[in-house]
Amino acid sequence: MAAPRYIPPYRIISLSSIFMYVVLTVSWAVFSGPTGYISLASAAFFGIGIYISAILGQVFFLPVVIFLGGLISFLFAFLVGLSTLRLRGMYFSIFTFGLSELIRHCVQWWEVNIAGTVGRWVIGIDHTTVYYGMLVIVLMTLTMAYLIKQSKFGLALQSIGESEEAADHIGIQVNILKVITFAFSAFFMGACGALMATRWTYIDPSVAFNPLFSFMPVLMAIFGGIGKIYGQVLGAIIFTYLADILLTKFPYYYMLLYGIILVIVIMFLPKGIAEGLGKAIKRWQKGEDGKGLQHLG
């Protein structure tokens, strides 16, 4: 993982996209997993990062651009959170989705009418740098997810998901906790967008704010298992890899095949493949025990 020198370039590129989806999925799940507020605004935060990179890429040093991409996404998510987190369930999801689309159209309008362009060039950076940068962001995202999960705030977020009223009763500052966690998850999406933009070199609003970036993290987390960080990571890795294979092998049917695989997983492993794996390991251990007992008998 740490030695891309010996890996062919296309592998490095595909590893970087796997990292990107790991970041999007895990940071999405930090907020939406325990609270059950299914956000479909990932594309908005990711896209903001991409545009920050396109606008400020020439002005600042890369790490600064990445940080700013995260920071502005954070601030934006904070404002969105303040105004929308009173919405619950389906309404929240639809609102966040609408918001993401609204931003796309606003940026489009701005570019055409005010900036006078459609797309923008982003200064390209070599694949190895992108790879290492993504690796750092992945590690930071995982660390944050782990720390939140371990702390009392992780449990508090889960209590909000299970009964917001009871969470209020025991003295959890429900709204503030929700807004801040939402903003933190947006930070990593924005940072990730700012870095990934350098790989695409040319971007326009429909690339940067592609709704797929909102849907994929949700699907990947469900696929892997929302409740466990390793499940989310596994989901992101397998799904991205699968997409690569399906896209090259079945360019016309790949979305269809994708859908079928997802349906099968949800039907047989409602808690994701992490659960399936956990069960398999347990069964295996039991099997070993069984053998041991037979020996004794």
């Binding site: 009392k152 299970e162 009223e165 025991i170 959890i172």
Partner: protein, 234 residues
Amino acid sequence: MLKVSEINTFYGKLKVLWGVSLGISENEIVALVGANGAGKSTMLNTISGLVHRDSGHMEFLGRRIDGMAPYKIVGLGISQVPEGGNPFPDMTVHENLEMGAYIPEAWRRKEETLDQVYEIFPLLKRRAPQLARTLSGGERQMLAIGRGLMSRPKLCMFDEPSYGLAPLLVREFFSAIKSLRERSITILLIEQNIQHALEIADRAYVLESGRIVLEGKSYELLQNDYIRRAYLGI
């Protein structure tokens, strides 16, 4: 300890509480009784800051609490055991209790408090690793009371603790609630079941359509003609 005066509360345009005043002294057990829809739960939620009072004044241990955020009120030492328990179903019993100690002052001493709660309800200790959704109705109520105690309250408010429990269990719970007095916890109890409530409370207020219509010592109220006719059916 708690002084509530002239509280008016609305749900939108609907006025639910009409100038309600009540007071609780330290180490007292006070019941707030009344029929369904009289405004009892609204009164509790107003005290704990979950529902905003429209006008009126509330004071706890000499500090004004009307208009204060719920988490600050919990921090001052008021905790509420909600109706039906309302546990977090997909969290374990242990995690549910831990969450009760969420506020910083309680979090620091949560292991100690946890031992005390297990002492009051030993059954919870045996159920600790179980998910709350697998508990029976009575166990859920125990869990809710335990969670309410985890914040180390000075005043604990119970919303219909007898709700949905078998009569035998109700007696058990009420004696458990009564025993909290020995741990210097003051109690405000909401009940539809007036007979039970008056048996353990020192004093009671009778709430009807959002107004206090009667108040007094429990044994006096048990003798009161109006109460006997309207609530006890004697």
